[in-house]
């Protein structure tokens, strides 16, 4: 009975949402604000990747809020799962093949993550993606070695320093320019690694912050045995 009611309700919701959405023309060229961003990305921010330019430069304050939400989630998760006794992970040691290969792959994954967030203004990618890749490498080590531990103090220091770097760059824009997070550094030649002013600096800070946060989050979630 409940299933029937649920399906009926969902059918009504789906029909009317689709009815509204079909009035939006599909596949036509971007107008309005999207067109403006595309046409003036290189001129106004110096970045080649316009998604990065929007996330870090045009909506930089929004990204600061987003980083804060992620930080709050990691802190809240730690507070919910806190226990007085130290807890351990329940996993057994993995086989020799997995252990040996993950030892080789782990630095390479960390390198790929660093590459992704350093080149955020040139190629697809950025701080959030690079940080997530680094955390995936740490997860590989977590599931293959029972004794692999992360240093929580170092992680929280990295996280706080990265967050402070973001805010400091923002205030530098306020002091030397006219607004918070204004791009005060020279743009350089678009398409080169050292270009786009403050965008790579902010994305490197975000990459470190997200990597440290997700690593701490995984560590908290995997420790279940008292």
């Amino acid at each position: 009975m409940r299933k029937v009611i649920a399906i009926l309700l969902l059918f009504i919701i789906g029909y009317y949402s689709l009815d509204v959405l079909l009035k939006i023309p599909f596949g036509e060229s971007a107008g309005g604000v999207g067109k403006h961003y595309l046409e003036s990305t290189i001129k106004e921010t110096g970045a080649v990747n316009s998604v990065t330019a929007i996330v870090v430069s045009y909506r930089g304050f929004d990204t600061l809020g987003e980083v804060t939400v992620l930080f709050l989630a990691a802190t809240g998760l730690g507070a919910i799962l806190y226990d007085k006794k130290a807890k351990k992970r329940a996993l057994q040691n993995a086989s020799v093949i997995v252990k040996t290969s993950s030892k080789i792959i782990y630095p390479l994954i960390a390198l790929l993550g660093a590459y992704v967030f350093v080149h955020g203004h040139l190629t697809p990618g950025g701080g959030f993606q690079g940080g997530a890749i680094i955390a995936t490498g740490v997860l590989l080590m977590f599931i293959s070695y029972r004794s692999f531990e992360t240093n929580h103090k170092a992680l929280s220091i990295i996280e706080s320093l990265a967050g402070m770097t973001f805010v400091t760059i923002g205030f530098a824009g306020l002091i030397y320019g006219t607004s918070f997070l204004q791009n005060i550094l020279p743009f350089g030649i678009p398409g080169e690694l050292f270009s786009a002013g403050i965008i790579p600096l902010i994305y490197i800070a975000v990459g470190f912050k997200v990597g440290a946060e997700l690593t701490a989050l995984l560590d908290n979630l995997l420790k279940t045995i008292k």
């Binding site: 789906g14 599909f26 595309l38 080649v48 998604v51 939400v69 998760l77």
Partner: protein, 113 residues
């Protein structure tokens, strides 16, 4: 058209899981499916026919050939928030399981609808 229909279908599948399933883990999986459906919908709305990614990687690329970058930037934000929501929900489920020794919402009183 097919893109809109598929993403709406994904959203509905996720909402069905949230409404009908009894297992808390399955409800969180349903929430993630709703999330992914919404991301797909936003990306589909920003699509331009024969458009490339909004990155000026080659000198000859024109702005008119590219897809809309605004939905992509919003989805980048939404993915991160979705991850945070899923992580907090899973930690709450771990605590509920510690307390009640079950994941079935019918057996946990005060959670019935």
């Amino acid at each position: 058209m097919i893109y809109y229909a598929t993403s709406i279908l994904l959203i509905l599948i996720g909402m069905y899981a949230v409404l009908v399933k009894k297992n808390l883990i399955k409800i969180v999986i349903g929430l993630s499916i709703v999330d992914n459906g919404i991301h797909l919908l936003l990306i589909a709305i920003g699509y331009v026919k024969d458009g490339t990614a909004p990155i000026f990687s080659k000198p000859g690329l024109q702005a008119s050939q590219m897809v809309d970058p605004v939905p992509q930037a919003l989805v980048l934000t939404a993915i991160v928030i979705g991850l945070a929501v899923t992580a907090v929900a899973l930690s709450l489920i771990i605590r509920l399981y510690d307390h009640h020794k079950t994941l079935n919402i019918n057996k946990i009183r005060k959670l019935k609808w």
